[in-house]
């Protein structure tokens, strides 16, 4: 919405997984991992995506990269619909989107040297070989704050933060327009988290690519994002400019999330949790608004009708019946 032509446009993305049981492996249920998600990411923009574990954040990430096939909906990158691209075309377009995973230990092949890992995308796409490839990899190492002489080392010889830097270098190697970060710092020490986040911000300034930044840590998201989307049980419940969302959260779930951020002040009284209980099962999501089972302001209508994302104020969309019609007033 910040840009006339968004880099990434996801429309009504749905991903259902079949639950099979019995001898005949019949379909006995459906996991509604992602249940109709729409959003855009502008050029050079960072969209933060937060939500509890199991709310479908990672599935959205993987669906965008076509690592999982979406059940329905469409994904447009640079104005091109990549949802149904064939293998060969898709391979070409993978250059423009890359992913950084949460676990830096499992996302590097333990039997390859760091240099080979970072240089592999170049070989796959025939961009550089031999000495040229070595030079390019050394350059990438430099960009992410690793030394070129570490190229011969194996992943186990690096620390968690360094490994994540290798992952970033690998993602950079193809010069992507979009980098999806799937909780890239949640497996790292707090002291290292800041370094990696700052590196990501730095790289964005230098190269101008966009991030879809997935996390469950609000502080991290607040630091890096331009806009923030909040997910609950496979749907986006609120999406707004960062400052607006933090200052003026409209969805009860967002309000609860913000209230739950711990404050580093022992004198400050801990607030009573605004919600309790667990996230309902995505196999059998609640009717109407998925959040109605835990919402303080639940109304009869919430149990029947599903609210859709609507403009509540400028650049602030929310899916909640409480906000119905407020957009027109403002």
């Amino acid at each position: 919405m910040t840009d006339a032509t968004p880099l990434l446009e996801v429309t009504d993305l749905v991903k259902h997984y079949a639950v099979r049981g019995g001898v005949l492996r019949r379909r006995v249920g459906t996991v509604h991992a992602v249940d109709g998600v729409s959003f855009t990411v502008g050029v050079g923009e960072t969209l933060g995506m937060v939500g509890e574990s199991g709310c479908g954040k990672s599935t959205v990430a993987r669906a965008i990269l076509r690592l999982v096939e979406p059940t329905s909906g469409s994904i447009q990158l640079n104005g091109l619909d990549i949802t149904h691209l064939g293998k060969a075309d898709l391979r070409e377009h993978r250059r423009s989107m890359q992913i950084i995973f949460q676990d830096p230990f499992a996302s590097l092949n333990p039997r390859m040297t760091a240099g080979d890992i970072v240089g592999e995308p170049l070989s796959v796409h025939g961009l550089a070989t031999g000495e040229k490839r070595r030079e390019r990899v050394a350059e990438l190492f430099d960009q992410v704050g690793l030394r070129a002489d570490q190229m011969q080392n194996y992943p186990h010889q690096f620390s968690g933060g360094q490994r994540q830097r290798i992952c970033i270098a690998r993602a950079l190697s193809l010069g992507p327009d979009l980098i999806v970060c799937d909780e890239p710092v949640s497996a790292l020490d707090v002291s290292i988290q800041a370094q990696v986040i700052n590196l990501l911000i730095d790289l964005q300034r230098r190269h101008g690519f966009s991030y879809l930044f997935i996390a469950h840590d609000l502080a991290v998201v607040a630091h890096i994002s331009h806009r923030v989307a909040v997910m609950y049980l496979g749907r986006i419940v609120e999406i707004a400019e960062k400052a607006e969302l933090f200052a003026n959260p409209r969805h009860p779930y967002t309000q609860a999330l913000l209230a739950s951020v711990p404050v580093a002040d022992p004198k400050k009284k801990t607030l009573k949790p605004m919600i309790d209980g667990d996230v309902p099962s995505p196999i059998n999501p609640p009717s109407g608004c998925a959040f109605h089972t835990r919402c303080r302001y639940v109304m009869d209508r919430c149990k029947v009708d599903t609210p859709v994302l609507e403009e509540a104020s400028a650049k602030h969309q929310v899916a909640c019946w409480l906000n119905e019609g407020t957009g027109r007033e403002l």
């Binding site: 391979r91 890359q98 499992a106 996302s107 092949n109 039997r111 592999e120």
Partner: protein, 297 residues
């Protein structure tokens, strides 16, 4: 999947250096039995390679003056009913055992790896078909299958190798498939996909190298049993044809008739078979402990 970092393990265990000779002597001290197994295997390989030099006699030459001679300075392990030198027949027999053991293990493992990778990585109907064939093959004992194979193919060295290799395929394929299934879910495979690598290349570059450790362990463990199967086949008369010396046939030729009158004809080939199998098994066990501690038990 946890990947064992052996250098760290070594350091934690107090090794001062993790390179070269020191690493080797350290491992040898920690796995005494494995080192013994390795020595036996090396001796076995040397015997096979140098058979012409250390054999002293032509293993095929018949000497009617020296029939059933007991062990002596002239014939270290005695002679058989044709007057052939038992020592040189055993040393040359090592060649057959080695050729069959290594040949069939390599052949069986390579096919097993391809089947296992395809089955685990592609899944779907490919997996289903391969797994059902594997089930059928595994339902039959190794020896029975090998027997049927040689009976169908006719006894010759290549045929014996093929006959012993085929029953190995399912075992290897199962292990590789299980490993592949575990690896397939790891983020580095997804990362490889997202950089646009083809499935075949992912399977070969990323999956295969990470299944090598269990494969080496399995192949070494199978080496002993292939040697034993060859001996059994030859004992039953379906192994390597005359006149090439095979330990199994040396046993079967003499077991019934000469076990009382010329026991060296039975004892020495028997020792040779036991030692070779014992050595490979000891080494295989140590290798499993070193490369793959999770499979201990």
């Amino acid at each position: 999947m946890a990947v064992i970092n052996y250098d760290n393990e070594l350091r934690r265990a107090g090794a001062h250096s993790t390179h070269g000779w020191r690493k080797l002597t350290y491992l040898a001290r920690r796995h005494m039995l494995g080192a013994i197994g390795l020595v036996i295997m090396v001796l076995f390989v040397l015997a096979a390679l140098l058979a012409d030099f250390i054999g002293r006699y032509d293993p095929l030459s018949v000497d009617s003056m020296q029939r059933l001679a007991p062990p002596s300075a002239q014939h270290w392990l005695g002679t058989d009913s044709f007057g052939r030198d038992v020592w040189s027949r055993i040393v040359h027999g090592a060649r057959i055992s080695l050729a069959v053991g290594v040949g069939s293990t390599l052949l069986g493992s390579s096919i097993g790896v391809i089947v296992g990778l395809a089955s685990g990585y592609l899944s779907g109907w490919v997996d289903l078909v391969f797994q059902r064939i594997t089930d059928i093959l595994q339902a039959l004992p190794l020896l029975v299958l090998a027997l049927v194979m040689t009976a169908a193919l006719g006894p010759s060295l290549p045929n014996v190798i093929i006959a012993i290799a085929i029953p190995l395929i399912p075992t290897v394929a199962r292990v590789i498939r299980a490993n592949t299934l575990a690896l397939r879910e790891l983020p580095f495979i997804e990362a490889a996909k997202s950089i646009g690598m083809s499935e075949t290349r992912i399977a070969l570059r990323h999956v295969l190298p990470n299944t090598l450790a269990p494969l080496i362990v399995l192949a070494t463990a199978q080496l002993g049993s292939t040697i034993l199967t060859e001996a059994s086949l030859s004992f039953l008369g379906l192994g390597i044809p005359e006149p090439y010396p095979s330990w199994g046939r040396m046993l079967s030729e003499s077991a019934a008739e000469y076990v009382r009158t010329a026991p060296w004809l039975v004892i020495f080939p028997g020792i040779a078979i036991s030692l070779a199998v014992f050595g490979t098994n000891l080494f295989g066990d140590a290798l499993r402990d070193i490369l793959d501690p999770r499979q201990r038990g």
